[in-house]
Symmetry: C2
């Protein structure tokens, strides 16, 4: 292999470093209007009136648009990837603070912003529900009726359901949990919680819609251009080929920019005013768009004498906020991994997607898995501790091995769970004694491992275009948002075609140009699109060989493409189009669970090991060392893969130690980067990122996705290390100094007033 496995710099570094890389924020179109959103100030209420006169009177304001104006254009102006529950602008009711209620349009964004402040809305306030467990009761109902998207067979039974906040309930039964628990040596139960936090891409949401000439063009900062095209076409009742979605460089996504976000709004506005419309959110406004699910996870395990887990019952409550977004799929598609990467005979899973009066929650780097791992790996540690077994030994006893059935029934294949665990143990020198610190500063260590299925079934299509001089261009709708997919795909295509990866040009997503891809999410791109790129390159290679044969060049010899074209056409002319689509083999999903026998095209495995220092007087936690290890199959570009690990770990570190949206009666009180603390460069601990090479038979050149794997183990590894250091157990994220301090005081029986 000449190209795959090479540590080349990302193809776009030069463009990014020189500032030439083009982002949607830079786009200005002739006649373009800027929209500023006026947002709900109450968490739950019926709209009585929206006073827009003062805003309209501001010189330079083109118009003010409300939900009712949009209803004149689209009879059913609701969107969403799983449920069509989200209005383009609020209709009748608002369901969370910050919900878009109206938009001011003006040629000058400052005029629009000023005018938006003059809008006033009156609401009949309704009681609100914020907690996911409380939302199980139908005392306060966020949506009058469930509206699942019509296309999904497994959601059909939910249609029209009323009087509930449960958007989707997922249940899995394997073996006989009750009987196994009754027989078990010990039954251990805990409840863990996670907080609401968010993606905070450094490029906030932005979209531009251009009504154009028979074709609506949307320029957007989005991870799923193909999906946006389909969904916008559905909203307007148009064929897909009348909608064009273009995504230039993206300044981070992390799952925030999946499915429709601003695109329906700017499109509707552009069609109303017949001019291009741009909306760019501020950093603050991102707190009202999409977040990570807060969760409550009740986990109960029965353990045998031999240290084997014989039964596990999982109840997971996902706080989806005011609109479902992809939350129901998180509940279901991640829910089935709730028992962890362990070989357990008897399993119950009950997983609930709940509506509340918060900012909606969706996918965030891990699609719910970090919340699950947080619980089951904290729980695992507590069990080992209770049984007096070394936590690594305990995990080794219970790990799912090759071909053993996972909870869903799908056999585990090509998942290097044991190897990842071993790698972490080796890095931490687990068999050596740790320096425990002294005085008020105590040290401890902990590990955690997690796993994840990739979304299935999904499809990716790629085109490889070889020009007459052999120079090659690759077309995919995968969005390179910093993860390095452009570079990896160039390496794959170059490997097949025997070119140099750096010479391959990548065309960024444009649904008029680049073929279908389900989306850049769930770590699926390298596997799915990587396979499509490999197949498309093979198609191009076969066509080049056919051309050589037509040109009378002897078979079996490799000619440079430029020579083949010149020989065939008598000049530098022609080109070769290789195209291929990749869909992993799968079986039709069960109508009730939404799962198929072959639940994932590949498994992701990741883990972390942490050494921490805790100040017993202040509760301050310092991570001394963070080891991240993931199963990478065979890496396409090891350097880029390693930066994916560190990126994921740092992100999860923020969610572990500091990040949390603070609510006061539904109002976010820390909606700014000054108050909501993400890790800075000085917060990053010494890190070691290890790519654990393993088999992924079905991957392109043996590779698999790993964009999320680095998040899995971080939170419980740190909690487990804190427990190891100072003997307190934190059950809820984030683990701030205050939280640890309070726990220490409780442990010591000292009242807080002392402090």
């Amino acid at each position: 292999m000449n190209q795959v496995g090479r540590d080349i710099p990302r193809l776009e570094v030069r463009a990014k470093v020189t500032g030439r890389a083009d982002y949607t924020h830079n786009l200005r179109l002739p006649g373009m209007l800027y929209g500023k959103v006026f947002r709900a100030t109450v968490p739950h209420g019926r709209i009585r009136c929206i006073e827009t006169g003062a805003a309209r009177a501001v010189p330079g304001v083109q118009c003010v648009v409300t939900g009712e104006d949009i209803r004149k254009l689209i009879a059913e102006p609701y969107y969403g990837p799983a449920f069509h529950d989200q209005p383009i602008l609020a209709l009748d009711k608002v369901r969370h603070v910050g919900e878009p209620v109206a938009v001011v349009l003006a040629s000058d964004p400052h005029v629009a912003e000023h005018a938006a402040q003059l809008i006033d809305a009156e609401y009949q306030e309704l009681p609100a529900v914020y907690d996911e467990v409380a939302a199980m009761q139908p005392d306060i109902v966020v949506h009058d009726m469930l509206k699942p998207a019509g296309t999904f067979a497994d959601l059909k039974h939910l249609k029209g359901r009323t009087g509930t906040n449960i958007a989707l309930d997922f249940h899995l039964r394997r073996g006989d949990v009750d009987a196994a628990l009754a027989r078990a040596e010990r039954v251990i139960e805990h409840t863990f919680k996670t907080q609401q936090c968010l993606h905070l891409a450094f490029e906030p949401f932005v979209a531009v819609a251009d009504p154009g000439d028979g074709v609506l063009t949307i320029h957007t900062s989005n991870q799923t251009p193909s999906f946006v095209r389909t969904e916008i076409a559905r909203l307007f009742g148009w064929p897909e080929n009348r909608v064009r979605v273009k995504v230039p460089y993206l300044g981070g996504g992390f799952g925030a920019k999946v499915y429709v976000k601003l695109e329906a709004l700017v499109s509707a506005l552009a069609l109303l005013v017949r001019r291009p419309v741009k909306i760019a959110l501020t950093m603050e406004e991102q707190f009202y768009m999409i977040t990570k699910h807060p969760t409550t996870f009740r986990i109960k395990s029965g353990v045998g004498k031999d240290g084997r887990v014989v039964a596990r019952a999982c109840e997971v409550y996902w706080n989806g906020g005011a609109y479902a977004d992809i939350g129901p799929r998180v509940t279901q598609k991640s829910g089935f991994t709730a028992p962890g990467p362990y070989d357990i005979e008897n399993i119950n899973i009950d997983s609930y997607a709940l509506y509340t009066n918060r900012t909606p929650a969706g996918a965030l780097r891990g699609f719910g898995i970090p919340q699950l791992v947080w619980a089951y790996e904290s729980h695992t540690d507590l069990i080992a501790r209770e049984l007096g077994i070394d936590p690594i030994d305990f995990r080794r006893k219970n790990i799912l091995h090759q071909n053993r059935p996972q909870a869903s029934g799908t056999p585990m294949t090509d998942a290097a769970i044991a190897k990842v665990l071993d790698a972490i143990a080796a890095r931490l020198a687990w068999n050596k004694k740790l320096d425990r610190g002294s005085g008020t500063v105590r040290r401890g260590r902990g590990v955690a491992i997690g796993f994840k299925a990739s979304i299935s079934p999904t499809t990716s299509v790629a085109i490889v275009n070889v020009a007459a001089d052999g120079s090659t261009t690759l077309y995919t709708s995968t969005v390179d948002m910093g993860q390095g997919s452009d570079t990896a795909f160039a390496q794959i295509a170059a490997e097949v075609l025997d070119f140099k990866a750096e010479d391959i040009r990548i065309v960024h997503p444009d649904t008029d140009v680049t073929p279908y891809d389900m989306g850049t999410l769930g770590s699926r791109s390298l596997f799915h699109m990587g396979n499509a790129v490999r197949l498309a390159a093979e198609d191009a290679r076969a066509k080049l060989q056919a051309l050589a044969a037509q040109a009378g060049l002897p078979e079996g010899t490799n000619y440079p493409p430029a020579e083949v074209f010149k020989k065939r056409f008598g000049m530098q002319a022609g080109n070769v189009i290789g195209a291929a689509s990749f869909v992993p083999t799968y079986k039709s999903p069960d109508a009730q669970t939404g799962l198929s026998d072959n639940v994932t095209p590949f498994w992701m495995v990741g883990g972390a090991g942490a050494e921490v220092e805790v100040d017993t007087e202040t509760g301050d936690v310092r991570v001394l060392r963070l080891v991240n290890a993931v199963d990478c199959g065979k890496p396409i570009n090891p350097g880029v893969a390693r930066t994916q690990l560190s990126g994921a770990a740092i992100m999860q570190l923020g969610f572990t130690l500091s990040e949390a949206m603070q609510l006061d009666a539904g109002q976010v009180t820390n909606a700014s980067l000054a108050d909501y603390k993400i890790p800075g460069i000085r917060d990053v601990p010494p890190m070691e990122n290890e790519l654990v090479e393993a088999e992924q038979h079905t991957g392109p050149f043996g590779a698999k996705g790993l964009g999320e794997s680095g998040t899995f183990g971080v939170s419980p590894a740190i909690a487990n290390a804190i427990h190891d250091a100072v003997g307190v157990r934190i059950m809820e994220l984030p683990i701030t100094a205050e939280v640890v301090f309070r726990a220490l005081r409780a442990q010591q029986g000292r009242p807080l007033e002392d402090a």
Copy 2:
């Protein structure tokens, strides 16, 4: 057939009628500079100095660029499709009045225009040559040395040739002309001439180059985006995938906008200043860009007792102007049809491409054929007249029939020569006597037929993209410049896929998006790209069928694509990419003649019949009726095809009766639409356009190109009708009233002073 043969309106009518259709002229990019060209004022001279100081001093001028500045960027800044003889800006010498010498760049086009007027250049004037026959002598040499493009085997022997204006000489010998002439009953010889005229697209030349981020993007009004990409890449020594050429709607081309025109200049300027650069020519400047070849055609025929032409000798001199452009190919590829669509045993052809000190000449709707038909069909009429044979009977006797060898040796196949002649005769009711008029107004009628080979070998590639809802997008690099190719291709793809043509979306040429096409020229698109579209649609259809099989749908049934995708992927997801390339079968060309045994993928046949009224006192000619008939194979869209015929005939009518560039010492003295008279709506005579259906076995659904066929017969049909009406023979175009008046006076033996 449901879609092919339908008379649907062109897909773009709505966009054009509402003014939404986007043209390159509309494009403004951030930071863009406007260039204004300073042009040579002498026809031939060495550049002594270019005084740019005053222009540079104009406030708002960014810079002034000369040929020497461009030489710093590109060592060999010469371009051209057949010869690399044309400098991007004049170097050392100027060779025609109007040649670009320098460019002023400014943010404001008016500033650039004003500043350009302040530039001054001094030349050492050289004697000039304007006439193509005079240019055969090397007394005045326009180019010191011939520089054929390196890629063409048949031009290699010309490389480095000095002391000549003959860019290319083409010679064909068939049988023994001298012997046959010696034996012939009669030998008849004439010399015919044509004038310099031009395309005058209503959208003048315009191009924008954007230096971009590693990829140079050129937005241009051009008929050959793929060629421009290759040629610009060659000039800069780049791979093709670093150059992107986009062509939106085009406001007419007619062969003017083929190959590189403004693109090399704007690209070089953009790279020099690292900003986007736009140059848009005025209508006047079009007179200095590219024209139609003036020609001198000496034709000599030997005729037998039976009225059969037994030998023909053709000497054609093509006045190519100062730069070769595609002229040498006209000389060669059209030259071999100089004897006309007749079955003649003994043939000599000598065809010369000549450099002179005029605006360059290239392709203009017919690629030289109308000049040839003008001569051979005037000549044919004169022979028939001399032999006393009815001109239609005489033609019928001599026509080339199916499988008989054409002059090149290639057998004539699928060329409905006799059918076209019959159609014209029938329309004119040739067997009925004509009302001859009375008094000073006399009437006459005439016919003419011509034929043309299409350019070969060339390749076209198409992509058909079927989205998950079945909506379909077609990608080709064919430029729809008004000929209706978008519509015809949609009909072809729709026929294959069983869709409605109106629902197919066409993506306009963008070399980053649409695959290779040799160019939109020579009436090749419907045949070549039409076949590629058909094949690509068949590829898509096969892939849809494969998808249906994968989805478990029973074979042999037709499912709507939306159903297939939904069944296969469980949702509206995925797409299908059909791709195909089409190259007509051909044999390698002869190194000396540049022709192969299979000289054309298909033959075009067209003819005209005219009834005219001539005022014998004023010389005024009124066309009473113009019949245009062409072999259309099987028409894809008869309505659009018919408008192609009338468009071609009206264009040729202008070249016949009024259009001529007037030169005074190399200066064009009528370079404006006020002085250079193209036909207005009131100049259009009553016309009948007949599509003669015939076999074209190799065409897509039996179709063939016909964009040029309507030009062939117009000029000689009118000249023949004038002769029929008043007995004078016009040997040179255009046939103005003055020309006819002078001829009538000469015939009557009356001196001109009478008038």
